[in-house]
């Protein structure tokens, strides 16, 4: 877990994920060397205030991902409400209005699967607290390509359905508390400084 090959991090969650993100993301320094892309399920008619809420707590830049935007390190991107977020080979974002997957748009699986295509074994995938099984297939794909699959441990998660589904699909994933995930990611930023 200590090698320095990581190129990007994808995170997904729904109910209870904001609490976990509020533990994980503020722990990271402004010059964190990787981009972080996140899908959090929200009611589609709610204009996302996620980025604003978290920017107030984070040293890293936090913003809503825009169509065709280049992906920069040191930045946390959230999928906009009611659009899927995908990654292109040349490291920029694409949005899509394709049908919801598992009743979800944005879909965690869609983001994870497209990120796996681009980053392969240089990707860390993290499934957080949530009330459905989105993210399980995506995390399995992260694992299959040699990336690092992590799950918020059901004991630590506000809603256990999503972590449990992810662990069922991807049994090799490590189950960690939000705080352990935070310190693991933080250690990655020290790694790359040396």
């Amino acid at each position: 877990m200590t090698d320095r090959r990581w190129e990007a991090i994808v995170i997904g969650g729904s109910a209870g994920a904001l609490r976990a993100l509020s533990t994980i993301l503020p722990a990271l320094p402004a010059d964190f060397p990787l981009p972080i892309m996140a899908v959090v399920h929200l009611p589609p008619d709610k204009q996302s205030v996620l980025a604003e809420v978290l920017q107030a707590k984070c040293a890293m830049r936090v913003r809503e991902a825009q169509d065709k935007e280049p992906i920069e390190p040191g930045t946390i991107y959230f999928a906009p409400p009611d659009y899927h977020l995908l990654v292109e080979d040349d490291r920029h974002f694409a949005l899509s209005y394709d049908a919801p997957q598992l009743f979800s748009r944005p879909s965690i699986d869609v983001l994870f699967e497209s990120a796996v295509d681009v980053y392969a074994d240089r990707l860390i995938g993290i499934v957080l607290s949530g009330a459905n099984n989105d993210g399980a297939l995506g995390l399995e794909a992260v694992d299959r390509e040699g990336g690092l699959p992590l799950v918020q441990s059901p004991k630590d998660a506000h809603s256990t359905a999503m972590p449990l589904a992810a662990l069922a699909k991807c049994p090799t994933a490590q189950a960690l508390s939000a705080e352990q995930i935070a310190s693991f990611l933080k250690s990655q930023s020290h790694e790359s400084e040396t």
Binding site: Y83, L86, V87, A94, L95, S96, Y97, D98
Partner: protein, 275 residues
């Protein structure tokens, strides 16, 4: 690093579809196309994209279903109600001053956006002097748009959207419910021209005062986005309006200079009055 085999197969398939059938997906955003082609691969039971290509080339019956998978878009009546509210409250007063109007719904898919416009224009008393062009590259989608039949289970959402858009009538005036379906009234189609048109390969066909093209450009690469916006610019009369999707904008477009921002939040742009 050599190109991944799957990416190569996708390129070849899109080239094959273009050469043989003249549908051009080559400049579509690769991540979305890849996702849809994987779904198609599964649907047609093909173990690789190359095998799908073989099917598409040798079995012409496969193409329509593949087109459907590559282009289908499910929308809602009055999707993003505030978009229609801004049109109703702020754009319509401008349009009232014209003796006759043309409105282009580009990439109309199954017609939800079209019916929203026709109903809004009827409520505002402009339908009689307006011609609506509803265009798409997918013939099946155009047929559905022309039929105007939607699942009754979607009507609750459509009705809420319509009310939030400032609707002045009851949506139930415009459809008949039967057998789990809502059939929209044929009178809504009297002033509509349905047509096969590609933003990738076709040219401008009329001068229009309003173009609505939402959640289509996100599927195009930058260059193709510029081509499409170029068509809109050419089609719009001076001071004409262009409405884009919630996450689309003219910010990075080569044609940005031709427009002023009319509603930043609702992504409505107005073409400048002078060339």
């Amino acid at each position: 690093m050599p190109e991944k085999t799957e990416n190569l197969e996708i390129k070849l398939l899109l080239e094959a579809i273009f050469q043989k059938y003249h549908y051009d997906f080559r400049a579509y955003s690769p991540a979305s196309i890849k996702r849809r082609l994987r779904q198609a691969q599964e649907r047609f039971g093909c173990s690789s994209i190359s095998i799908l290509q073989d099917k598409v080339l040798h079995n012409p019956d496969v193409l329509p279903s593949l087109l459907e998978l590559l282009t289908v878009q499910v929308s809602e009546l009055f999707r993003d109600p505030l978009y229609f509210k801004v049109i109703r409250d702020q754009v319509i007063p401008h349009l009232r001053t014209y003796p006759s109007l043309k409105v282009w719904i580009a990439g109309c898919s199954s017609g939800e956006e079209l019916y929203s416009f026709v109903i809004l224009f009827r409520e505002e008393g402009l339908e009689e002097k307006t011609i609506f062009y509803a265009t798409d590259i997918n013939p099946h989608a155009l047929e559905r748009a022309q039929a105007g039949v939607y699942g009754l289970d979607r009507i609750k959402l459509f009705t809420e959207n319509h009310q939030k858009s400032g609707g002045k009538s009851s949506l139930s005036n415009y459809y008949t419910a039967a057998y789990g379906r809502a059939v929209f009234d044929r009178s809504l189609r009297e002033r509509v021209v349905f047509s096969d048109h590609s933003l990738v390969t076709d040219e401008v066909f009329a001068e229009v005062q309003f173009t609505s093209c939402r959640n289509v450009l996100i599927y195009f690469d930058r260059e193709l986005q510029d081509r499409a916006i170029g068509l809109f610019t050419e089609a719009l009369s001076r001071k004409g309006f262009l409405g884009l999707g919630a996450k689309e904008s003219l910010n990075f477009s080569a044609h940005a200079e031709a427009y002023t921002t009319f509603s930043r939040d609702e992504k409505i742009y107005q073409k400048r009055g002078t060339p």
